[in-house]
Symmetry: C2
Amino acid sequence: MTAEKSVSGPANGAVLSVGDVAARTGVAVSAIHFYERQGLIHSIRTQGNQRRFNRGVLRRIGIIKVAQRTGIPLNEIREALSSLPIDRPPSARDWRNLSSRWRDDLNTRIEQLTRLRDQLGTCIGCGCLSLSDCPLRNPDDYLARDGAGARLLESGGHDEGAT
Amino acid sequence: MTAEKSVSGPANGAVLSVGDVAARTGVAVSAIHFYERQGLIHSIRTQGNQRRFNRGVLRRIGIIKVAQRTGIPLNEIREALSSLPIDRPPSARDWRNLSSRWRDDLNTRIEQLTRLRDQLGTCIGCGCLSLSDCPLRNPDDYLARDGAGARLLESGGHDEGAT
DNA sequence: CTAAAACCTCAACATATATTCAGGTCAAGT
DNA sequence: ACTTGACCTGAATATATGTTGAGGTTTTAG
């Protein structure tokens, strides 16, 4: 079995099959395919058209899953990852640049949620909640976004890759 | 125009048309329809089959939008709203019960995000990020959710940091 | 009364993030 | 060589949260 062999070290040298990557990252094969289609990771193919990944992909997938936990959508993750060097392995500094962008993002979201929490009791309890009066209903307080559009992404990460 | 009239006070007495509700809540008519289909709000109909809402709906929609901002999905919001009395207007206590549930939720999520933030720099910067070693990759640390996807490897070797 | 604005339903589309399935190919152990 | 498990592609399905449009009805302002 490929998996068994690969966990202790792929025979093929330094490359990993999609199943190897799945086993080592805990990410489903279908998701790995998906990430590749989305341009988040890359592979080469064998003669028989099977994917082969180099080890760097394990790290990239690690980053992807962590970033998702912060609520960052895949297209932004792709963009961030695309800032990494192609010709050489990313340095510690490269990774730090990524993480600092995301930390700012996280901080902003933590602040928003904290403010929301602090006003929840007051505003729901007291009965203001009107669009014009209540701080909870005035999105300008939190975000520079409107109140009538589609907001798919606000929930960010309530539920992750389960099922 | 109906909107003009309704903002200053509907002629029909105490009931609101869907357009009135949209104008007062800042929520699109299509979303109001949607919420009604989902059982989050309710209306009666005129002879001509048009929706009429009583003013309580404004509050409910306020609650819905606020809860969404905390990351709560509609089905949970529906469930929470269904705990409100049908026969009488909700009391301050009723609302407080709702908000306290959600505050706990929010607190949990704030804590998760905070922990995530605090580890971002360290873990992304340092190169651990392995599924078995890194606190960022070990979901049990954060959530008691998600069982099926991620199986931890018992294959001792750590090989992700390289390249 | 008439025309415009608001409303109705139902279906399809849109987005993000994948999973599942069908039908077929590749690779490896015995 | 044969069988079996891993792999391939592409399409369909799934969930959550709505929006858009077509085709038709109701209400209201003048």
